[in-house]
């Protein structure tokens, strides 16, 4: 049953670009969407994903976001509407899932592909059908790019899906041609390709840093942007944005203060080493501005908020930064308190306009 369209008001819109729908019981909820063979497998093994071995000392779920029946936070669409969307006046929530991104770093690509399809079918029925404020991400298994492309083409005609989503943990950098079938399919439907952390160091993924594994969750979480820098560097240098001019890449949940350093170093090196990448036609930082989007959470919190504004000025990509909360996870950024020091125009862009443009979401008061 669909709820009514929200009433028109004068307040600026709010789009949350990282909201985690979850499962109260993943096996029971995905089982109906699995073939008989994979049902038998799931009945025996459960739906296990490779872990990183890192455990947050405060847990991953926000303790106050359990559903009224005590089930996993994020597992009840109705409760998410009241506890998050209605509470903060969110017009659209881009759903980024739970539990399943590990399919891309599982050793068995067939299992990964089966779970991707089951997840996306469950999402369409249970969540996207519940409220027009929920928008979906097509979860794909990036370890099998041809299968991922088929899954994109299967789901994309349903316009409630607004992006492709995959794990940022990987054994290879995403610019490499191994992954191009994913970008080709996404470009056909003009869908951004987003990556989300959590699998750095899990399963078949590389270690979270080139020198190996951090010791504790705190240390692991600190260094997640390193992996994002690696992928964005690769996408630019491999010419992925030249080969797929429609491609937009979304780095979810990595913050953004690391971008100036990456842009400056790439631009400086390009001036000397351009001959290695003759397919590039502009400065690397310009590819980033034209094709790469970031979500804010966990937003950097410098002592002086003026320093954050300086970082925005250095990045100089006012259209590419989008608010996200990460509801219902522990490092949730409250939209009423996060980035409230921003000038009005920046707020309007970051909290609404940029995501509305990227995901083709109609302004709520239009």
């Amino acid at each position: 049953m669909l709820e009514n369209t929200p009433a028109i008001t004068a307040r600026p819109g709010l789009i949350d670009t990282d909201v985690h729908n979850a499962f109260a019981n993943v096996r029971e909820e995905l089982r109906p969407y699995l073939s008989r063979a994979w049902q038998a497998y799931a009945d025996y093994h459960g739906i296990l994903m490779p872990g990183t071995g890192y455990n947050s000392s405060v847990g991953v779920q926000r303790e106050d976001a359990r559903t009224p029946s005590g089930a996993m936070a994020g597992s009840d669409p109705d409760f998410m509407i009241t506890d998050h969307l209605d509470r903060f006046g969110i017009d659209f929530a881009i759903l980024t899932g739970s539990h399943v991104l590990g399919i891309s770093v599982h050793t068995d690509p067939d299992w990964g592909n089966a779970i991707a399809t089951a997840y996306n079918r469950n999402l369409a029925e249970r969540w996207l059908g519940r409220s027009p404020r929920f928008r979906g991400s097509i979860v794909v298994n990036h370890s099998d790019p041809e299968a991922a492309a088929r899954e994109i083409r299967r789901c994309a005609p349903d316009k409630r899906f607004v992006q492709v989503l995959m794990a940022s943990g990987s054994s290879r950098l995403f610019g490499q041609r191994f992954f191009h079938p994913i970008f080709e399919a996404a470009s056909e439907y003009n869908l951004p390709v987003a990556v989300h952390p959590g699998t750095e160091g899990a399963g078949t993924a590389g270690a979270p840093t080139p020198a190996g594994r951090p010791t504790r969750y705190f240390e692991w979480h600190n260094i997640v942007p390193l992996n994002f820098m690696g992928h964005i560097n690769s996408l630019v240098c491999e010419g992925a944005f030249e080969k797929f001019p429609q491609l937009r890449f979304v780095a979810v949940e990595g913050g953004l203060a690391w971008l100036p350093q990456l842009m400056w170093r790439m631009d400086k090196n390009y001036k000397a080493l351009r001959s290695e990448v003759p397919w590039l036609r502009k400065l690397p930082s310009q590819y980033i501005r034209d094709h790469v989007f970031v979500t804010t959470q966990p937003v950097e919190e410098p002592e002086k908020s003026s320093h954050f504004l300086q970082i925005l000025e250095m990045i100089n990509a006012p259209g590419n930064i989008m608010y996200s909360s990460d509801y219902p996870h522990w490092d949730f950024d409250n939209p009423r308190m996060t980035l409230q020091f921003l000038p009005k125009e920046w707020k309007q862009r970051i909290f609404h306009d940029n995501a509305a443009a990227l995901y083709g979401l109609a302004a709520r008061s239009a």
Binding site: S56, S57, V58, R62, E63, D64, W330, D331, F332, D333, N334, R336, M337, T338
Partner: protein, 143 residues
């Protein structure tokens, strides 16, 4: 300033916590080893309902690779970002200048007399009352 009676002292034994709504303000009351502390239910960092967090202990400052657990029952851990606050002072363990908003709490008063006006508590004739003190407003019971 107004005193608002919120509960009987005996309703908040050592180690326990209660949340009350007084004059539009959500307040958490904590009994830490016999002493009652009250804080606004808003985390100064991200606005979370901090008083719903876990009451716990924590690892004390120690030498490298040593783990010394203590302050059991003295630490309130915010349910969002996990910031640790010392319930005895309201101070954040990392940055003591970040503090929970402390609400003065007093004990005293006669239960039978004061609770006659409070619908939500049964009137009993024994035991003292815990009162929170808030600036301004009209004196009254929990709302």
């Amino acid at each position: 300033m107004h005193r608002y009676p919120v509960m009987k002292e005996s309703d908040l034994p050592p180690g326990s916590r209660k949340l009350v709504h007084v004059a539009g303000v959500e307040i958490g009351l904590f009994n830490v080893a016999g002493k009652v502390h009250a804080y606004r239910n808003v985390c100064p960092h991200g606005g979370a309902p901090v008083c719903l967090g876990k009451i716990t202990g924590t690892t004390l400052p120690s030498r490298v690779y040593e783990y010394d657990y203590g302050l059991d029952g003295c630490i309130l851990r915010c349910p969002w970002h996990g910031w640790e606050f010392d319930l005895r002072t309201g101070e954040h363990l990392v940055d003591p200048t970040t503090r929970l908003k402390k609400i003065p709490v007093e004990s005293g008063g006669d239960a039978a007399a004061s609770l006659e006006n409070l619908e939500r508590f049964p009137v009993e004739s024994e035991g003292g009352l815990l009162c929170v003190v808030l600036p301004g407003g009209k004196a009254g019971g929990p709302s």
